[in-house]
Symmetry: C2
Subunit: 396 residues, 2 copies
């Protein structure tokens, strides 16, 4: 992985989680970077979400560092705002940044006070331990520090060759449960060393988010802490010219898609990735609504878990998406094999399909004929007993 230049990373165990695993991390840019971010649409928002939004606004899209902890969401607590402010202020001082140039993010349990001393005490050595990619595996270590019920760390990167040189993009994300597409879902940090003006950066973030984090679902629960941050520090010296912007935006989107799909693949209890392609809806929004409804159906998700080609549940879930369509114009394929033609059962070799359904990826194509050109892709995972195991006793 060729990481973008001009960023440093550090992670440590500050004692926030019960198990001795890194739970506090810093991502620092050599120079304040242009920054864009999207946050959860939940009415209940964690203190770090409120502060990060405020900071990015008051700094007019400039950020020098991301301070992130796992093990505690710093949400719905008495002291949440003060903890977020005090810890960001301390980090800013150590890093010689303005207080509003530090963006906080937290993930973990809701409603439990976060002791600021744990973070304040750990910060000096954390800052002293910052390393560039050239010096160590700081990036990967941070991607591990932000994990909660994740089984694996999630990173993605790309290099883009532009006329003036090479720019790099790298991202990390976390999340396995409480995953539902509402703007940003979970925590995601995407860094680039290109020089991209804040307005363009924001456009890239929104477009990328729409095609990635906004198109995934594990359990339909939208977190209180969702944060997706995109930083561009310009340290590569490469500034895309206007014509190259679509190329850069596409690469940013691909990195975000890779991260988002990794979340679904690691979905709590998930054994299979379900890729839902809707085609032929009235417009893209209608296609997305249908795809989302199929993706969120526990009955579709349990059928895929059981390798059951139960397309009736798929057309049923599409039917309550709130979007008009003619069921007799619907074709459904699973693994490229027609299971439903014109809204009716297609003749098929169930043994052959069943074997395919045991594979780890399950592509579902839902096509409405003669209705429109709207299309959408959505990623979700199957629903297994593992999800219940994880969530029946997460807190206690």
């Amino acid at each position: 992985m060729n990481l973008p230049v001009g960023y440093r990373y550090a992670a440590t165990y500050a004692g926030i989680r019960a198990v001795a695993k890194d739970d506090l991390a810093l991502i620092v840019s050599a120079v304040p970077a242009n920054a864009a971010a999207v946050f959860t649409q939940n009415r209940v928002q964690a203190a770090p979400v409120r502060l990060a939004r405020q900071n990015i606004k008051s700094s007019r899209g400039r950020a020098g560092a991301i301070l992130v902890n796992a093990g505690n969401a710093n949400c719905a607590t008495r002291t949440g705002d003060r903890v977020a402010q005090a810890t960001c202020r301390a980090a800013a001082k150590l890093l010689r940044l303005k207080p509003n140039e530090v963006l906080p993010a937290s993930t973990g349990v809701i409603g439990v006070e976060l002791d600021p001393k744990l973070i304040l005490g750990a910060l000096p050595s954390l800052a002293a331990g910052l390393t560039s990619d050239a010096e160590g595996d700081g990036f990967v270590r941070v991607s591990r520090a932000i994990m909660t019920t994740d089984k694996v760390p999630k990173t993605a990167s790309e290099e883009v060759k532009l006329r003036r040189g090479v720019m790099r993009i790298a991202g990390m994300t976390k999340g396995a449960g409480m995953i539902h597409p509402q703007m940003a879902t979970t925590l995601g940090f995407v860094l680039t060393d290109a020089n991209i003006p804040t307005a363009a950066l924001r456009g890239m973030l929104l477009a990328g988010n729409e095609a990635s984090y906004s198109r995934i679902s594990v359990d339909g629960d939208t977190s209180t802490n969702d944060t997706l941050i995109l930083l561009a520090n310009g340290a590569s010296g490469v500034r895309p010219d206007p014509k190259e912007m679509p190329l850069v935006a596409a690469a940013v989107t691909r990195v975000m898609q890779s991260l988002a799909i990794q979340i679904v693949r690691d979905g709590e209890g998930a054994e299979k990735l379900i890729i839902i392609e809707v085609r032929g809806a009235k417009n893209d929004a209608a296609a997305a609504a249908i795809a989302r409804s199929i993706a969120n159906s526990p009955l579709v998700k349990t059928a895929v878990a059981g390798s059951d080609p139960n397309w009736g549940r798929i057309i049923c879930a599409a039917g309550y998406a709130g979007v008009p369509f003619d069921p007799t114009k619907v074709d459904i394929e699973m693994h490229g094999i027609p299971v439903c033609k014109s809204g009716l059962a297609a003749p098929l070799s169930e043994a052959e399909l069943k074997k395919k359904l045991d594979q780890p990826d399950c592509p579902i194509a839902f096509t409405i004929r003669g209705s429109g050109k709207g299309k959408a892709t959505f990623w979700t995972c199957d629903f297994t007993k593992g999800y219940i195991d994880i969530n029946a006793s997460y807190r206690t």
Copy 2:
């Protein structure tokens, strides 16, 4: 159970389901009854839903019989409409009714052709075997014949003493999965021997449905076959006077609530009934939206399964209900014990609460202070591995 007079019942095994268990049933009124019905809002609607809607319209709210089968939803099949029509026509002929006075209903797997010969062949002996309650247990047998993944039959009844005499109400319902509140959910048949004009009957059905079937959820999936029918045959000779109508409507609502709650209690894999009371929202619709969002959260439902007083998930689910509220004004109680005060953790004896959370009922009270008088009650069940067991291999 004192059943309403003037109805007869029969059930038999017609070979629709694989296991030899009653799967075809008739409910017949001695005289054509006034009828009201609500149906699924799914865009994909089973043939019997379309025909029942059409019949109740063309007969101007008159019905003499309900013909119901389990084991096959008669939905998304080539011959669905013809099967529904032919079987209703045959039943009408046997019962000396007009074809549009028979209301069909089906439940079971979607997308598999329903062989009409099975029903046509069984109908004569089914009609010959009709018994009144006085003669046998026909009512209960029909309530068993309509079961699919249900573990227990579900019935409820009330007697109402009016000035002119006693009227009786009795209902049956089925459903354990694919349960989500959208008008009617699942199959429900409610019968009364009072003489109630069709317009008033329709009002009672809508009001009752709104406070019962529209307020339950098992898995958030809305079926293609949902049908709720209310018949009033007047056989008791009792006609409520206008002042007594609220009394009658309240009794109808209670019967529907009892039925709806039985569905949730028997929810696929369910071990606990969760009763969500929202108080103090801007209006009743806002309260219902919050209650629904909490009820549909897999994270809340798995926490209750694990007896985990994880109120953070409750306030989080409320937060994405799409209704504005101030989280710092929220109090949450579980089993009457405050777990969240003003959006923050309430001091509590977790051992004491944990013991209560092991009980089969889990009341959750969500109160917003100083916002309004909107309130709503919602019933759902916990989410256990049993749900996955049942649904990973329902069809195959």
